[in-house]
C-alpha cells in the first residue's frame, strides 16, 4: 500500500492575527507555525494503514508526505519523516503564489507520477478553512472520494470509510486509487485498520510523537524538491484577495431586568426574532 499525504503548515491559531496596513494580506511576520492539525491526523491514519499493529510494529507500505511551500516548510516535512513517513516531496512556492486550485493542480501532477493507492489528507486547513483541495484534486484525477472520514478500514483493493453525518453514519466503499479527507475522530484508538491489523488491536489515542532515534534518522530520509513550474505549469491563481479586515470589536453587553425586556430587545434592537 502506498499512501500520499499532503501537508500544510499553518500559523498557530493561538497567534493573534494582524492585517497588513495595505489590508490585502494577513501579516505573517513573527507568527509561530505548526502543521495543520487535520493533516497530522491524515498522516497518523496513513501510518496506521501501513503497519500491522503489533509490537514492535512492522511497516507494510510506503507513506509519502508532500507540501507546497517555501524552504522553511521542510521542517514540517522532516517532522513528518520523524514520526514515520518514508519520504518527502516539497514543491517550492511562496504562500502568496498559491490557492486551493493551484495546490490541487500541483498535487495532481505528483499523484500521477507517484501513483499512490490512496491520497489521504486533512478535511481542511485551519488557517483559510476553505475545505477545497481534496475535492478539487479528486475531481481532477477523476478518483472516487470520501470526505470527513471518521474511520477507515482497508479492504481488498479499496477502503471502507465511515463519515459522521447529521442523524447517523454514512458508509462509503471506495476502490483504490482514491482520495480520502479525514476528520478529528480518525485518530481515536479504533478508527483505522489495515488488512494486517487485528480488529482487537487498539491504537494509542491521538497522533503519535516522533521518537528521538527517529528524529535523527529522519535527516537521512529522502526529501525531493520540485518547482511549481514542474508540477503546475500554466495554472493561474483564481482566488484573489482584495481586502482583509479584522472582525468588529465586540461591544459591551447590557443587563436586562426580565425576560420581557430581553424578548423586546431581541426583537427591536438585535432584530433576531
Amino acid at each position: 500500500m502506498k499512501i500520499l499525504v499532503p501537508l500544510k503548515r499553518v500559523a498557530d491559531p493561538d497567534n493573534a492575527n494582524k492585517v497588513k496596513p495595505t489590508a490585502d494580506k494577513v501579516d505573517t511576520s513573527g507568527l509561530e507555525w505548526k502543521i495543520n492539525p487535520f493533516d497530522e491526523y491524515a498522516l497518523e491514519s496513513a501510518l496506521r494503514l501501513t503497519e500491522d499493529g503489533k509490537a514492535p510494529k512492522k511497516r507494510l507500505g510506503e507513506v509519502i508526505v508532500v507540501t507546497v511551500g517555501p524552504k522553511e516548510t521542510e521542517t514540517t516535512l522532516r517532522s513528518a519523516l520523524a514520526t514515520g513517513a518514508d519520504r518527502a516531496i516539497r514543491v517550492d512556492a511562496e504562500d502568496d503564489a498559491l490557492d486551493g486550485r493551484m495546490v490541487a493542480k500541483a498535487l495532481q501532477s505528483i499523484v500521477e507520477a507517484e501513483k499512490p493507492d490512496i491520497v489521504l489528507m486533512g478535511k481542511q486547513a485551519v488557517d483559510g478553512d476553505t475545505n477545497q483541495v481534496g475535492q478539487i484534486l479528486a475531481e481532477r484525477l477523476d478518483y472516487p472520494m470520501a470526505t470527513f472520514a471518521a474511520t477507515i478500514q482497508e479492504e481488498d483493493g479499496g477502503v471502507l470509510v465511515s463519515r459522521e453525518v447529521d442523524g447517523g453514519v454514512c458508509w462509503l466503499r471506495l476502490k483504490n486509487p482514491c482520495v480520502v479527507t479525514v476528520d478529528l475522530r480518525i485518530v481515536a484508538p479504533e478508527s483505522v485498520y489495515s488488512l494486517k491489523t487485528d480488529k482487537s488491536f487498539k491504537h494509542n489515542d491521538g497522533v503519535r510523537f516522533a521518537a528521538l532515534p527517529a528524529i535523527m534518522k529522519a535527516k537521512k530520509k529522502p526529501l525531493d524538491v520540485k518547482t511549481l513550474g514542474d508540477v503546475a505549469a500554466g495554472t493561474e491563481l483564481t482566488a484573489k484577495y482584495s481586502k482583509f479586515e479584522p472582525p468588529p470589536q465586540r461591544a459591551a453587553g447590557v443587563k436586562v431586568a426580565d425576560v420581557a425586556e430581553l424578548v423586546q430587545k431581541l426583537a427591536t434592537e438585535a432584530k433576531v426574532i
Binding site: R78, S79, F209, A211, L212, P213
Partner: protein, 597 residues
C-alpha cells in the same frame, strides 16, 4: 486554556535568545544536531507530556501504588504510559552513540525532561532513575555488566533504582551497613536493608536493577570502605530469570510522588542475593559522586517543573476568578473583576514567575556548562565550565526545591479556599514538591557542599569565574539598555558574597569549622538570590534586544523585564543582610542546647 506545563515561548527564548544553544552544534560531539533536531525533540516531549502524561497525573496521585502479595502493583495507567515513554527513546537520549544514545546536549534534555516532569513527575521518575542507574554501569561497569544490564536498561526493558539509603544511613552514607561477601564465582552475596527505594519494585518490567551501596567484608570503616553493586531483582541463570532474593518489605505511604512507589527492600533474607561489583572496590561513594551533578540537576528540574505547572494553573485561575473590585471602584452594581487585576495577586504571580523561570534558566545554564565541560575542544574551556557547574549544582538543586515550594504554596494561595481542596490541582504539586529539598542531599547538606567544598576548591577559582560572568553579564545588560541599577545591584551582591566568603574561609583556615559553617543555609540563601538574579539579568538583556527586533511581541518581553526588575529589586537587597548574618557569628542555635527545647 489547557495547562501548558512550561511556557514554550519561554523555553525557545531561553534556548535561542539567551543561551544560543544552536552553537552547541559547532562542537564535534553534537555535530549531528541542529536547531531542527532540538525543536523536534522538544515538540515530542511537549506533546507527550501534555496529551499522555498530564491526563494521567491526577488518577495516579489519587490511587498510589500498593503491595499485593509481596509484589508492588503500580497504577494501571502506568502500564500504558511506560512502553510509550520507552519508545520515545529518552532513557539514553544524552548518551553517546556507542551505547545507543543520540548525543542530545544536556541543555536540551534538561528542558525536554522538564515538560515530562511537569506533566507527571512520578511517571518520569521510572525513567529518570533507570537512566541514572544505567549511567553508573556505563561509566564504571565491566563489559559483561554493560551487556547484561546497561543495554537492557537503556532499552527500557528493565528499570533501575538507586538503592543507597538505609535506616541508619540517610544523609550520612558513610554509615551504610549492607554487606557483600565475595564468592569464587565472581559475584558477591549481599545482605542488607534499604529504605525509601523509589521504583524499588513494580510490575511494569520483568526485572529491576538496584545500584546499591554496601561494604565488602573486611572493608575499611567509613566512606573509604563503601562499594557500588548492581543487584538485579531477578538474576539470569542459563538465560532464564530466577528470583535473586530481593524482597519488598513494605511500601511507604507518602504525601507526594504517589505514582512512583518507594519501598523498604531487603537483600539476602535467604542468603541467596547475588550482587556484582560496579567499578573498583571501596570507591562506591566516589563513583556516585561523579554522577552527582547530573542527578542533582535532575532533581532541580523536578522542582522547577513542579513549580511551573502550578504557576500556569494559578495564572489561568487568576484570569478567570471574579472577586471584588478595585480600590477606587466600590460600586456593587458593577461586575466583580478577575483577581489578576488586584496588585497583590499579581505580586504572588510575579513571584512565582520569577522563581519558576529563574529556576528553569539556571538549570538550562547548568546544562550548558555540563555540555561544555564534557565536549569543548580546549581543556581550559572545559575546566572553567566544570568549575562553574560544580559551583552552581547545589544552587540549581536547592533553589527550585526551596523557592519552588514557596511558589507552589503561592499557587495554592492564589486559588484561595479552593486551592486548599483536592478539587483543584495545586495542593498535589505542593505535596510533590516537598520531596525535592529532602532527596538527593537535603538543603542543609547542599549548603555545606557549597560553602565547605565548592566555593573554596582550587583556591576559590569557581567563585572568581562566577564573578567574571556576572561582571560580563552586567556589562552586556548596560549595553543593551537594561536599567543600569539592575546590573550594579547584582554586582554589589556578588561583591558581598566574595567578602563574606573570604571571611568565612579564614575562619575555616584557622580551624573554626563550626563557626564557618554555622550559617551555611543563610549563605546558600544569599547565593541563590544572586545566582538567580544573574539569570534574570541575562534574560533582561535578551528581552531588551528582542523588544527592539520584535515590538509586536512586547507582552512577552515586557514580562521578562518586569520579572527581572522584581527579582533584583526584591531579593538582592536581602543579600547585604544575609551576608551580615553569616559574618556576625550570631550564635542562638549554636548555643541552644537540646534540653532547652
Amino acid at each position: 486554556m489547557p495547562n501548558p506545563l512550561i511556557d514554550d515561548r519561554f523555553v525557545d527564548f531561553l534556548l535561542y535568545e539567551v543561551l544560543h544553544a544552536e552553537r552547541l552544534c559547532e562542537l564535534d560531539h553534537f555535530s549531528e544536531h541542529s536547531r531542527e533536531t532540538f525543536d523536534m525533540a522538544m515538540a515530542t516531549s511537549r506533546g507527550f507530556a501534555r496529551d499522555v502524561l498530564y491526563p494521567a497525573y491526577k488518577p495516579m496521585d489519587e490511587a498510589a501504588a500498593h503491595l499485593d502479595n509481596g509484589c508492588v502493583r503500580v497504577h494501571p495507567l502506568m502500564h500504558e504510559i511506560f512502553p510509550r515513554m520507552v519508545e520515545l527513546g529518552i532513557v539514553n537520549g544524552t548518551r553517546p552513540e556507542s551505547v545507543g544514545g543520540l548525543q542530545l546536549p544536556m541543555t536540551i534534555a534538561t528542558l525536554t525532561g522538564g515538560y515530562l516532569m511537569a506533566g507527571n513527575l512520578s511517571a518520569f521518575g521510572y525513567l529518570g532513575l533507570t537512566a541514572g542507574a544505567a549511567r553508573l554501569i556505563e561509566s564504571f561497569g565491566s563489559d559483561e555488566l554493560k551487556r547484561t544490564y546497561m543495554d537492557r536498561m537503556y532499552a527500557g526493558e528493565w528499570t533501575g533504582t538507586m538503592a543507597l539509603t538505609e535506616p541508619q544511613a540517610g544523609s550520612s552514607l558513610t554509615d551504610v551497613k549492607t554487606s557483600a561477601t565475595p564468592t569464587m564465582d565472581g559475584h558477591y552475596l549481599i545482605k542488607g536493608s534499604k529504605v525509601f527505594i523509589s521504583g524499588g519494585d513494580q510490575d511494569l518490567t520483568d526485572n529491576i536493577v538496584h545500584l546499591t551501596l554496601g561494604r565488602i567484608d573486611g572493608a575499611p570503616a567509613g566512606i573509604k570502605g563503601v562499594s557500588l553493586f548492581a543487584i538485579p531483582k531477578n538474576r539470569l541463570e542459563n538465560s532464564k530469570l530466577v528470583p535473586n532474593d530481593c524482597s519488598t518489605v513494605g511500601v511507604f505511604h507518602k504525601i507526594g510522588w504517589r505514582g512512583l512507589p518507594s519501598i523498604a527492600l531487603n537483600f539476602g533474607e535467604e542468603g541467596d542475593c547475588h550482587g556484582w561489583l560496579v567499578g573498583e572496590p571501596h570507591r562506591g561513594i566516589r563513583h556516585m559522586f561523579q554522577m552527582m551533578n547530573e542527578a542533582r540537576l535532575m532533581v532541580g528540574m523536578n522542582g522547577a517543573a513542579t513549580a511551573s505547572v502550578a504557576y500556569h494553573e494559578a495564572v489561568d485561575y487568576a484570569q478567570n476568578r471574579p472577586q471584588g473590585r478595585g480600590f477606587t471602584d466600590r460600586d456593587p452594581s458593577t461586575p466583580q473583576i478577575p483577581i489578576i487585576k488586584h496588585a497583590d495577586v499579581r505580586r504572588m504571580l510575579l513571584r512565582q514567575k520569577a522563581i519558576v523561570e529563574g529556576a528553569i534558566a539556571l538549570l538550562a545554564a547548568a546544562g550548558m556548562y555540563f555540555d561544555i565541560s564534557e565536549h569543548a575542544p580546549s581543556e581550559e574551556e572545559r575546566h572553567r565550565a566544570w568549575l562553574l557547574l560544580e559551583l552552581l549544582t547545589p544552587i540549581a538543586k536547592s533553589f527550585p526545591a526551596e523557592k519552588g515550594f514557596e511558589a507552589n504554596a503561592l499557587a495554592v494561595q492564589v486559588h484561595g479556599g479552593y486551592g486548599y481542596t483536592s478539587e483543584y490541582m495545586p495542593e498535589s504539586w505542593l505535596r510533590d514538591q516537598k520531596l525535592n529539598s529532602i532527596h538527593e542531599g537535603t538543603t542543609g547538606m547542599q549548603s555545606m557542599d557549597l560553602l565547605g567544598r565548592k566555593v573554596v576548591q582550587e583556591g576559590g577559582a569557581a567563585l572568581r569565574a562566577l564573578a567574571e560572568e556576572i561582571t560580563e553579564t552586567s556589562r552586556r545588560a548596560r549595553e543593551a539598555g537594561v536599567p543600569e541599577e539592575l546590573g550594579s545591584k547584582l554586582e554589589g551582591g556578588m561583591t558581598a558574597i566574595g567578602a563574606v566568603t573570604m571571611h568565612l574561609g579564614e575562619l575555616g583556615m584557622n580551624g573554626d569549622i563550626d563557626g564557618m559553617m554555622l550559617h551555611s543555609v543563610d549563605y546558600l540563601e544569599m547565593f541563590m538570590a544572586v545566582v538567580v538574579g544573574w539569570q534574570w539579568l541575562q534574560m533582561a538583556t535578551a528581552a531588551k534586544k528582542g523588544l527592539e527586533k520584535h515590538p509586536e511581541k512586547a507582552d512577552f518581553y515586557e514580562g521578562k523585564l518586569c520579572a527581572a526588575q522584581y527579582w533584583i529589586n526584591t531579593e538582592i537587597p536581602r543579600v547585604g543582610a544575609l551576608a551580615a548574618l553569616c559574618r556576625s557569628g550570631e550564635d542562638s542555635y549554636a548555643r541552644m542546647q537540646p534540653d532547652w527545647f
